[in-house]
């Protein structure tokens, strides 16, 4: 499939993060993550449980950004029930990050000094509880040295160096899976749990990624190319899941 856009390659990379998850709550947050998560269930991971973005669990493949689409309601999942899912370990969340470091420590709370931030951002939200209880992945649409930093200003999502300092029983559910960006896919499958280059999106070089990253990545000798969507996946993305092309706004062609 050669006419796939970068955004569509990113969507497939997001979907791949949920491969093998089985019957858990796949909870991608943001447009490209939601498109990718819904693609994963529609294309190859049919047992995933997914929300409508609010308090319902829905069985059908919803289009993103269209609130009035018909829903096959499977169940009710208000915020209180969501914490039950998170704390019982049946979720894989994909969050964003304003900053992330080599061990996967993530910040989207604020930039600068917590007493008087240079920029107040989202706050801790659920990042501490998500990362210590369940598998977590990240979607970062603007891979740059401002996001991929030596040290984050505030640790919201817990990284591997921090987790390692905890007692084994305390860190036993901590697992960072993939970091998907507009340039590449990263993971933590290295000897010292540092971020590793897993695959490059078509047209991106190792040098591009290195230049856009503010810390030293683990780079294998051979880095594969991120896979392209299949014909069926491309049809699902374009016609079913994202008919209004919201993916292009996050990852311009």
């Amino acid at each position: 499939m050669t006419d796939a856009t970068r955004a569509e390659i990113c969507v497939v990379a997001v979907a791949e993060a949920f491969r093998g998850d089985g019957e858990i709550l796949a909870n991608p947050i943001g447009n490209v993550p939601m498109i990718g998560g819904r693609l994963a269930r529609a294309a190859f991971e049919p047992d995933l449980v997914m929300t409508d973005g609010e308090a319902l669990l829905v069985g059908n493949t919803l289009p993103v950004g269209l609130d009035d689409a018909p829903k096959v309601v499977e169940s009710w999942n208000p915020y209180r029930a969501m914490f039950n899912v998170v704390w019982s370990g049946r979720r894989h969340v994909m969050m964003g990050a304003s900053q992330i470091d080599a061990y996967g420590n993530q910040n989207f709370a604020l930039i600068g000094d917590p007493a008087k931030p240079k920029a107040q951002l989202l706050g801790l939200r659920g990042a501490p509880g998500n990362t210590i209880n369940d598998t977590t992945s990240y979607w970062i649409p603007n891979h740059s040295p401002k996001v991929f930093v030596e040290q984050v200003d505030v640790v919201c999502g817990v990284g591997y160096d921090r987790a390692r300092k905890l007692h084994p029983a305390e860190r036993r559910f901590h697992h960072l899976k993939h970091v998907i960006t507009n340039l590449c896919v990263l993971d933590f499958e290295s000897s010292d749990d540092r971020m590793r280059l897993r695959s490059l999106h078509s047209g991106v070089t190792v040098d591009d990624v290195v230049a856009a990253t503010g810390f030293e990545l683990v780079i294998p000798d051979d880095v594969p190319e991120s896979r392209f969507p299949t014909d069926d996946e491309l049809r699902l993305i374009r016609e079913v899941i994202d008919p209004n092309d919201l993916r292009i706004k996050e990852v311009p062609a």
Partner: protein
Amino acid sequence: MPDKRISEDEVAAELRDGMTIGVGGWGSRRKPMSLIRAIARSPVKDLTLVSYGGPDVGLLCRAGKVKRVVFAFVSLDSIPLEPHFRTARQAGTVETRELDEGMFLLGLQAAAWRVPFLPTRAGLGSDVFRLYPELRTVQSPYRSPDGEGEELVAVPALELDVALVHMNRGDAGGNGQYLGVDPYFDDLFCMAAERRFMSVEQVLPTDDLAGNGPVQTLRINRLMVDGVVEAPFGAHFTSCPPDYERDETFQREYAATARDDDAWDAFRARYLDVGGHDEYRKAVGL
């Protein structure tokens, strides 16, 4: 059954400087805005707000009522960052205690159950200890699966002086009903507080409540409520389905007032200083 109906201004008159006020709802959803506006108009100051924050936090920060905010986020949902809260934070004019969203629930639950803390794994390894300096851990008295000890975060009880919530329907005695998809944590806010005030879209005879929906929608009971305020469109401009969705146009107008003092003064004169909730409804055209 006692008749607990009172007005917004009577609720505001119960508040004292320095009190800790919990506000129900979530982000820009089902916030008791007519009560929030009454507080903004009142002389009270130095409040500590405890909230899954939305325009309740932003508006009271802008009105100069807030000393401290206990929060996990402050958002208008369709506008991810609450602009007035952002301005206050970046100017350093409000203190904060920041928690994870789930820890926040446990803090309310601990206060409701009158225990000093509840344990959780959420927060371990993160900077929540920097953002909430009083936060402590507790050693499990039980053996972990690997036979060794383990520490947990001891989320302190978030004890409230006053809780403010908004429901779709209620009766004069304080039984409250939500008809939307999510109850949020309004019952916990009420149970965590000394004094509890509930505004409702409509006060009905008790006999008419159960016919509106399944009994599970009767989330608040009169043990949890000291005062009932009838406030049609009381959550405006936040959402209150199925009665109304968020007023996005009005929310954008509100958010834009964070850019300069003149815009805020005009907004305040037009919508806040006009009087009570009836005058507000007239000013907005509700």
